[in-house]
């Protein structure tokens, strides 16, 4: 039983991180049509900002986390200016490739800044664990899940209960109509780039204490989040969050009970099988056209 609860807990914690990244991807894609492949490196950047502030400058945890989120938000805005704004009239492939270029650039800047060595970000709780149902759950995992829950609730409230949320939903529904209604779509797109980057940055600073921080940190996490996004059909936030938790829990269970050798392979397998069977996502309706 303890084994099972432990696996479940680490699955939920990983799912929360994947959900944060995946939500950023979905939010950005819905409003601008862009799938940002730099999302993983934004997460890495968040982790490094965390190390820089907490370890190098000794700033307290909560202000440090907030500063990280603000900084990564700024980086997201800068990315919009550099990699998206000049390409507005280009086909989608050009924008996708440019996000790859941005990812590459971001990663090399991180390496130039912090080097290739692995770093660690201490958890605000140290190594303390919470004994629950026979399992030892690190408090950091609890923190991850709690913060993710709060952020998700805040995001939903913002989207459905505020003026700016209404504008974002209008933009997601139809960009041109939104423009005709007087919504400042360009400014809103910039905001969305920043917001989705901030979500990734938050994920990075939260996950960093449970792993070692290296420049490649974001890449593997990005792929599991992509799996969640694909399963969610790229357009439903709730489905995406659900898929993120599902994939992470399945991965942990498979690693714990089936075989740990291929633990890194499970998200990719799930992703490939899902795309083969349900290209529009698990919950999306399929538009079938026969000729």
């Amino acid at each position: 039983m303890g084994h099972f609860v432990g696996l479940l807990a680490s699955g939920v914690a990983q799912g929360a991180i994947a959900a944060l990244i995946a939500l950023g991807i979905v939010l950005l894609h819905q409003t601008t049509g862009v799938v940002n492949f730099a999302q993983g490196d934004l997460l890495t950047l968040g982790a490094y900002f965390g190390v820089w502030l907490v370890v190098d400058h000794g700033i307290a945890t909560i202000p440090a986390y907030l500063i990280v989120v603000a900084l990564v938000f700024g980086v997201g805005v800068a990315m919009e200016r550099i990699g998206y704004a000049p390409l507005r009239r280009q086909p989608i492939l050009a924008v996708v490739i440019s996000t790859f270029a941005l990812a590459l650039g971001l990663r090399s800047l991180i390496i130039l800044w912090q080097g290739n060595d692995q770093k660690t970000l201490p958890s605000p709780f140290g190594g303390r664990v919470w004994h629950f149902a026979g399992a030892a759950i690190p408090y950091q995992s609890v923190l991850i899940v709690a913060v993710t829950g709060v952020v998700l609730a805040g995001l939903m409230l913002m989207l459905h209960r505020s003026s700016i949320g209404r504008q974002v939903r209008a933009l997601a529904a139809d960009r041109e109509t939104a423009l005709l209604q007087g919504i400042r779509v360009t400014r809103l797109s910039v905001l969305m780039f920043g917001l989705s980057a901030a979500l990734a940055g938050l994920g990075g600073v939260l996950v960093a204490p449970t792993l070692t921080v290296s420049p490649q940190l974001g890449f593997t996490l990005l792929l599991s989040s992509f799996a969640a996004t694909v399963l969610g059909g790229f357009d439903r936030m709730g489905a995406t969050v659900l898929a993120a938790f599902g994939i992470a829990i399945v991965q942990q269970m498979a690693a714990g009970y089936v075989s740990a050798d291929y633990v890194e392979a499970y998200p990719y397998l799930i992703l490939l099988v899902a795309l083969v069977l349900r290209p529009s996502g698990l919950f999306g309706e399929v538009v079938r056209v026969r000729y």
Binding site: P86, L87, A101, A227, L275
Partner: protein, 346 residues
């Protein structure tokens, strides 16, 4: 929203307010393609007279291998119309398959087996993912590449695992090749054959059909064109080119292990295609040669290599979407005041 709009857009949702201009093919290399192949073959055959020594020859071999990879990517992107990140997967499968098969009959058996196996896997992958929109396909291929590398690391019986495969022999009809110069001629010979086959495809009706299928999607299907099958085969051929590149890597370096293959390989090849130009078969090899040489010239800036790459990609997409291969045509258009490419060709 019509089904056509959905198919045309990246993830299956249309992108409002965006109208992609029809890609224009640089016409400069259209004529005399076969003469160009001969010219390239002759020039390449004379290269070892100019470039001596281990270092220079090594760079030339690498360029030839990357040329094949980029050509495969051209088949997948320009002809099959799919942005794929599985390059490194096919590259690795090709290399290990070739090593395994060449133990039973020399290099040629290894090469052919590698091409066949990767081609088959590529075709099946594209068929299985035929309903995936552009972005999902890219993500799936990224996963495929990673999955391949995980399998290669763990399947020790086939790949030797972390220790890799040593002492790979290169024998053609019982003749053992072992000097760098012989390796260069081998790699370059395969590249020329690859370019020659690509020229044949370029001049065949299949190329027109494929471009039709890529640009018009559902319209092409309504005319009775078996687009799915055509694109799957084109994607498979591209994978086969990458398999050939992997085979050459294994047989010219005599040693491979999982660290010979990085995810970055997929991105490097993409950059080669972008830089050289994705609208012509001459773009990919050109980009491969340039991007193998540039890091050698910029040795002092090795730390900044990735950053330089990123900047180059951004600059090329924004300022020169046709790549370097479209440059002569652009210059000529400027001089004769005619629009580049004349009529829209592609």
């Amino acid at each position: 929203m019509s089904a056509t709009d959905r198919a045309a857009a990246g993830t299956g949702r249309s992108r409002p307010g965006r109208h992609a201009p029809p890609p224009i093919r640089p016409a400069i290399f259209e004529r005399r393609q076969r003469e160009w192949v001969v010219a390239v073959a002759v020039l390449g055959a004379l290269l070892p007279l100019l470039v001596q020594g281990l270092y220079g020859t090594g760079i030339m071999i690498t360029s030839a291998i990357y040329g094949l990879l980029a050509l495969g990517f051209y088949f997948q992107l320009t002809l099959a119309g799919q942005f794929s990140l599985a390059t490194v997967g096919f590259y690795a499968i090709g290399a290990y398959t070739s090593v395994w098969a060449s133990q039973h009959g020399g290099f040629l058996v290894g090469l052919v087996t590698a091409v066949f196996v990767t081609g088959l896997i590529g075709t099946l992958l594209k068929l299985a993912l035929a309903r995936s929109p552009l972005i999902q396909f890219a993500i799936a291929t990224l996963a495929f590449g990673e999955l391949t590398m995980i399998v290669m690391r763990n399947w020790t019986g086939f790949t030797g695992g972390g220790t890799g495969r040593f002492g790979i022999e290169t024998k053609i009809f019982g003749l053992a090749l072992d000097t760098p110069r012989e390796y260069f001629y081998l790699a370059f010979g395969v590249l020329v054959v690859g370019i020659g086959l690509a020229v044949l495809v370029e001049r065949s009706p299949a190329q027109r059909d494929l471009v039709f299928a890529r640009t018009m999607g559902d319209v092409a299907r309504t005319t009775g064109l078996p687009t799915r099958r055509l694109q799957a085969v084109a994607f498979g051929i591209g994978a086969g080119y990458m398999g050939a590149a992997g085979s050459l890597l294994a047989h010219t370096s005599a040693f491979i292990d999982p660290s010979s293959f990085h995810v970055e390989t997929s991105l490097d090849v993409l950059l080669m295609l972008l830089l050289g130009g994705s609208g012509s078969i001459w773009g990919p090899p050109l980009g491969a040669v340039i991007l193998t040489l540039v890091p050698e010239w910029l040795r002092d800036l090795a730390d900044y290599k990735e950053l330089v790459y990123a900047v180059i990609i951004l600059l090329v997409i924004v300022m020169l979407p046709g790549g370097l291969a479209s440059l002569p045509e652009k210059v000529r258009a400027r001089l004769t005041r005619r629009p580049p490419g004349g009529a829209v060709k592609r």
